[in-house]
Symmetry: C2
Subunit: 211 residues, 2 copies
Amino acid sequence: MGKANISNPVIRRLPRYYRFLGELKSKGFTRISSGELSRRMGLTASQVRQDFNCFGEFGQQGYGYNVDILQSEIGAILGLNKMHKAVLIGVGNLGRAVAQHINFNLFGFQIIGYFEQKESLIGQMIKNTPIRNIRDLDEFCRENKPEVAVLCIPKEGAKVISEQLVRLGIKGFWNFSHYDISLNYPEVQVENVHINDSLMTLSYKLNNLDK
Amino acid sequence: MGKANISNPVIRRLPRYYRFLGELKSKGFTRISSGELSRRMGLTASQVRQDFNCFGEFGQQGYGYNVDILQSEIGAILGLNKMHKAVLIGVGNLGRAVAQHINFNLFGFQIIGYFEQKESLIGQMIKNTPIRNIRDLDEFCRENKPEVAVLCIPKEGAKVISEQLVRLGIKGFWNFSHYDISLNYPEVQVENVHINDSLMTLSYKLNNLDK
């Protein structure tokens, strides 16, 4: 499947396709037309067909898509079948929730270490993996070579830690801090999580209900 | 300011503008051109100007925008200056992290009650507000009339609870469960949080590094 020149909006839609197809699968669907899929996702049918054309042929005209195969292929394009070793930095409330709530393995990531500076948390276990002292980060990364860091620390500490992590070979960040990593390390892949944006959108919707 | 027919993509960008302008403000910027703002946000200058034109005149040609005023005006469009009473349902790891990590007040929401079914959590305090028994939800809502619910429970329980909440007058959901509320209540405003989508995007980026 050709992957050249996939535009950013198409890439952004891939996880949604993957998610919707998973839901269809769990509801017992085996085939779906681009029309039906687009209706459920709030897109147009031609949009869906265009998106899938970026990656080659997923279905037959007039026959619809095989839900299971389509989901697997999109999963493969997303790289979910390849495992990346990751460390999670900061296991306060947010870090702990992320660690326990997110099923990293389903998305191609394996958390091999948790790191924290707060003494009282060090040594505790999360999903059978110990929380380590942040001072041991260098040694751990040199030995275990994680490629990804999940950053769950406040903005203040993020500059120093991201510098250290990039130096230790981290190639991708899942960034919950409000520090802009990309600004200093354009070569590193960063996904920022801005949960507040959706809260603001909800506020907008509520305030424009009767207009 | 005219708000008619604002398209969904424009609405989606408003929180980003708000956030970026806040960061500029904290860095000491007082004025910014559409060119500079667009560069920082990865948009084109004409895109930025078009977006702002939807809401009327924010700046003067060639003179740039006043950062502080622009942020306030976008905040007002987002309705962040109006407070909505909200309840948060489910204070497991995720709910607790959301409750403690998100500064709801900044975004126009006031959490007036936390609800949980797990006996051991009931009576504990979060930010000076007690965690209540989910069985008291009806009575609480009738008395206090919240408009919004933050749903932090697993998919399984979400159908029954969302039905109950809509019946109790809830008009908007910030939905962390993987249950599709909109399907049954199209009249209710729902913002779904799909954190996994950004994790999949990171996987895609990492797997297409060298291509």
